[in-house]
Amino acid sequence: MIAQNFDYTAPASLAEALSLLASGEAKPLAGGMSLIPMMKLRLAAPDQVVDLGRIPELNYIRHDGGRVRIGATATHHQVATSTTVRSQCPLLAATAAQIGDVQVRNMGTIGGSVAHADPAADYPAALLALGAEVTVANAGGSRTLSIEDFLVDTFTTALEPGEIITEISVPAGGGSGCHYQKMLQPASGFAIVGIAVQVTASGGVIASARVGVTGLTGKAFRAHGVEAALVGKSAAGIAEAVAGIADGVDANSDIHASAGYRCQMARVHAGRAVAAALAKA
């Protein structure tokens, strides 16, 4: 639990941070909820750590241009309690509120979590369901990717060396027809499966559905087939429509949940998530 020696810098501006990170050698530190434990266990041993936590321009939540824009170092607590997020994309607030525990939510950041790409993290499910975009920057400039393009694989993203996430945005006006349903791994609090659902409905019949799934396999994904199957369904048709959520998925398996159990829990919790979202739509 004792990290290797490293240099630590806490720049005050984004430009300074990007300059420090430009070589690709330094490791950016946001809330430290994943990087610090990895360093303490010596699973990560960066020579230089650049702390993004003191950069005011990375910490914001605003409603702007039809999107809710969230600075990379907004904490889970900020996202969960922001009136902007709660009114414009309640699914994201509900998801943030279920991450870890109070201490984790006070320290952990949305940019840090998404950049880490833990296959059991909560945010990706909601971000996929919401059609999020991720803005990344390096010393040379910035680019914006869809969350689907950003998440490449287990602990792997589209970030190039020297790049960091600066902003995550989701369309505003997400509507109340949403739910994040999570089955907790009892030790870590990560998702055994987490299902984020955003639906619109008319007269109890689903008009559109977006379903993000985390925890089930190596990376979070959108369940396009389930989304299509849900359209036109009322509450009674949900179970059948979500039954294929794990089809063709190479499910994770560990001491907390076997692959078979995870797949079945994805079906069960997808059904519950959609039902809850529909009830609120």
């Binding site: 639990m1 004792i2 009892p186 870590s188 001491i255 076997s258 159990y261 919790h269």
Partner: protein, 777 residues
């Protein structure tokens, strides 16, 4: 001297008084081992085996030793003068492997210490560990205790290829007759899985060798500072009077710090070698790998009964997972399980056979309950299974077999004498609290609706207040000193070394009542062998039941002495002591405690046959153990789709004898229930086939969090213990012992419509889901 009317003060014993120790603990003002920083102190880090079993083919420390900041590296060949880690328990035929403080040519479990690096800071020390080059010759390992003794497993210790650490047999009555007469016999294999104690504070040691005095001070997070002093002095070859152990503030022990560990002697050894203080603080990973684990039973139970529910006898074959070595009490723990095997029931025919199995795992030893949770789990499961088999209500079968009130003191089938009891009382109170008939009606309705609702009862008994010295490995008495300053302030020094259980408050309550003085005039000290008289320690729910009794008797002596000074000062033979003063029964004149104490130190004049000073030390030997009991009821519902067990309500009615402080008792019970619930639902130390600990982090080992613990509705019945003058029985482990069988009985009750008879712990969602799947298939 004044002539004032004596105001009768209300007793403090029995009051819900907030813990006096808490403000410093919750404001960060307390001093734990890691807060101790001595001038010129060095830091140690330990290289540990990454393998369950391996030969050390080559070990090269040269790169580590040359690393800037590293001052010393020691390996197994350097510690030849240091004695082995002691096993304090003895059993006939016990095989005790030599447990050196650093591995010699072979390692026996993951985490086995191999070398220690000493450096100017802990980061450099840790870097140094990575610079030691080891060539491992990896050997096959075994982690499953049943496989270990099956005959074809790798030998943990090559000298004992059968992996058997000991056999222990206990038998009473006529078991064969009981089973021959039985109308029904129920058999079940029940496991009590390995658990990791997970004290919030890991272990830690600071060793300071004063080279001029040739004296060692060892600061260690230990429940037993005096026993540690004795044993460390022996290990290191130091005179005990030049060895001092200080247990500073502690962040929990739960039995895991009732021990003598290799690292404690190792830090003493290092400090003596380098002539400088050295600190080692255990990481959580090390804590999980190398601090003792608890439980680790595979039990084969058989219970014989008549069709009317009368229990005739019981058989048990117990396989105890020992781990690679014996720690201080390792082989004694399963013998406690055997002692408590009859539970609260009066049957007299038992046969128990314990086999200790060596495995390539960290040793097991005492963890909250230490042998009794396993026993209680066994008997309470078997009684429930028997009830189900003969179609009897689980309440009725218990009432039918309880030891009756008029039978106390009751001699059990295992040779214990239960001190006092009224076993039906907490059960009836609990049934009343839960509205048992109403719950059963709810359950009937739930079942009609296809819901899986369970009602689980456990009526536990436990053995506390360890204990009479002849029944313990190192003395079972306890000590207390009461000293009153010339200014009348009172210091209590307890040998029991409480470490979070609240005795700073409860012992002050006892003292305040006996001396008739305010709580604020009393200071309770523990944990420093240079200050406090020899004591045994806090474990086995003995702190108040033995340590508190020692204090009570010391207080009687000091009161008598105060009274002699009071009589002298009042110039009267007819005085009484009350309300913090001595009063002349004829004149009504009084002298205060401070005046009496002051006179004893000033000593201008002494009462007849009375020494100066106002200090009394008492060593008290208890005549028996104490035997608390109670009834826990868990109401659960199972999610048919996910297998998740939801605790709808949890009731605990405990009889722990007299209660000094109900607030502290509630806290002990709630914490105990949380740990019992952890075993029932979540916790399990998982070793894989190569004896790698899979649950090596809090990320994978599920200690219940606050949000995972249900609201606990609790109440008490009070049956005072005749064993000690306070009438207390002990409460530290009751919650843990009562909980797990109530939980499993509840879940099995919920699953009964599906034909389920038993579920082993932990009852994870996936395990229950699989049971549901196979039952529905």
């Amino acid at each position: 001297m004044a002539t004032t009317t004596i105001t009768k003060t209300e007793p403090l014993v029995g009051k819900r008084i907030r813990r006096r120790e808490d403000p410093r603990l919750i404001t960060g003002a307390a001093t734990y081992v890691d807060d101790i920083k001595l001038p010129g102190m060095y830091h140690a880090a330990i290289l540990r085996s990454p393998h369950g079993a391996a030969r050390i083919a080559a070990l090269d420390i040269s790169r580590a030793a040359a690393h800037p900041g590293v001052v010393a590296v020691f390996t197994g060949k350097d510690i030849t003068g240091v004695g082995p880690v002691p096993c304090g328990a003895s059993l006939p035929g016990l095989r005790v492997p030599v447990h050196t403080i650093l591995a010699q040519d072979r390692v026996y479990f993951v985490g086995h210490p191999v070398a220690v690096v000493v450096a100017s800071d802990r980061y450099i020390a840790r870097d140094g560990v990575d610079l030691i080059d080891v060539e491992w010759d990896v050997l096959p390992a075994v982690s499953d205790p049943e496989k270990a003794i099956a005959g074809d497993a790798p030998a943990v210790h090559p000298e004992w290829p059968d992996n058997i650490a000991f056999h222990h047999h206990q038998e009473n009555g006529n078991v064969d007759d009981a089973f021959a007469q039985a109308e029904v016999v129920v058999k079940q294999r029940i496991t009590s899985q390995r658990l990791i104690p997970t004290a919030m504070e890991t272990r830690g040691v600071v060793a300071d060798f004063q080279t001029g005095d040739k004296a060692l001070t060892l600061y260690s997070s230990t429940q037993v500072p005096h026993l540690l002093r004795t044993l460390i002095a022996l290990m290191l070859g130091l005179p005990e009077n030049k060895t001092r152990v200080v247990a500073p503030e502690m962040g929990g022990g739960f039995g895991s710090k009732l021990n003598v560990y290799a690292e404690e002697a190792l830090m003493g050894f290092v400090a003596m070698k380098i002539g400088k203080p050295v600190k080692w603080i255990e990481s959580r990973r090390e804590n999980y790998l190398t601090t003792i684990h608890g439980r680790g039973h595979v039990d084969y139970f058989e219970i014989a009964a008549k069709r009317d529910g009368t229990i005739l006898g019981m058989k048990l074959k117990l396989i105890q997972d020992i781990g690679a070595y014996h720690q201080l009490l390792t082989p004694a723990i399963p013998t406690l399980s055997v002692l408590m095997m009859p539970g609260l029931y009066k049957f007299q025919n038992i046969r128990a056979h314990v086999v200790g199995a060596f495995t390539n795992c960290v040793p097991t030893d005492a963890y909250r309950g230490a042998g009794r949770p396993e026993a209680t789990h066994g008997i309470e499961r078997m009684v429930d299974m028997l009830a189900a088999e003969i179609g009897m209500d689980p309440v009725e079968i218990r009432l039918k077999n309880f030891v009756a009130n008029e039978q106390f003191p009751f001699s059990t089938a295992t040779g214990l004498v239960y001190d006092s009891g009224n076993y039906a009382a907490p059960l009836m109170k609990a049934l009343d609290l839960v509205d048992y008939q109403g719950l059963r009606a709810q359950q009937k309705k739930a079942r009609e609706e296809g819901r899986l609702m369970g009602i689980g009862i456990s009526t536990y008994g436990e053995i506390c207040a360890f204990g009479p010295s002849p029944a313990t490995p190192a003395g079972g008495w306890e000590s207390a000193t009461v000293k009153i300053d010339p200014t009348g302030k009172v210091t209590v020094m307890t040998g029991a070394c409480p470490h979070g259980q609240g005795e700073e408050t409860t012992f002050a309550q006892i003292t305040a009542d006996e001396l008739g003085i305010p709580l604020d005039d009393i200071h309770v000290i523990r944990g420093d062998t240079a200050i406090v008289q020899y004591g045994i320690g806090t474990f086995g729910s003995r702190g108040t039941a033995v340590g508190g009794a020692a204090l009570y008797f010391a207080l009687q002596e000091v009161k008598a002495k105060l009274k002699r000074y009071g009589a002298m000062l009042l110039e009267s033979d007819d005085v009484s002591y009350q309300g913090g003063q001595c009063v002349c029964n004829k004149t009504g004149r009084t002298v205060s405690l401070a005046e009496m104490s002051g006179a004893s130190y000033r000593a201008m004049k002494l009462p007849p046959n009375t020494s100066p000073g106002m200090q009394v030390t008492n060593f008290w030997e208890p005549p028996n153990f104490t035997f608390p009991f109670g009834a826990h009821i868990a109401v659960t519902e199972i999610d048919r789709e996910t297998g998740a067990v939801q605790v709808k309500r949890y009731f605990a009615v405990d009889d722990i004898g007299n209660i000094i402080n109900p607030l502290i008792v509630d806290g002990q019970l709630h914490g105990g229930v949380a740990q019992g619930l952890g075993q029932a639902l979540y916790e399990q130390a998982v070793y894989d086939e190569n004896a790698q600990l899979v649950t090596g982090e809090l990320m994978d080992y599920a200690v219940p969090k606050a949000t995972m613990v249900p609201w606990i509705e609790s109440d008490h019945t009070v049956t005072p213990s005749p064993v000690n003058p306070l009438g207390v029985k002990g409460v530290g482990e009751a919650g843990t012992i009562g909980c797990s069988p109530a939980m499993v009985n509840s879940v099995v009750d919920a699953l009964r419509p599906l034909g389920v008879k038993h579920v082993d712990m932990p009852m994870t969602s996936e395990k229950i889901w699989r049971i549901l799947n196979s039952a529905q298939a």
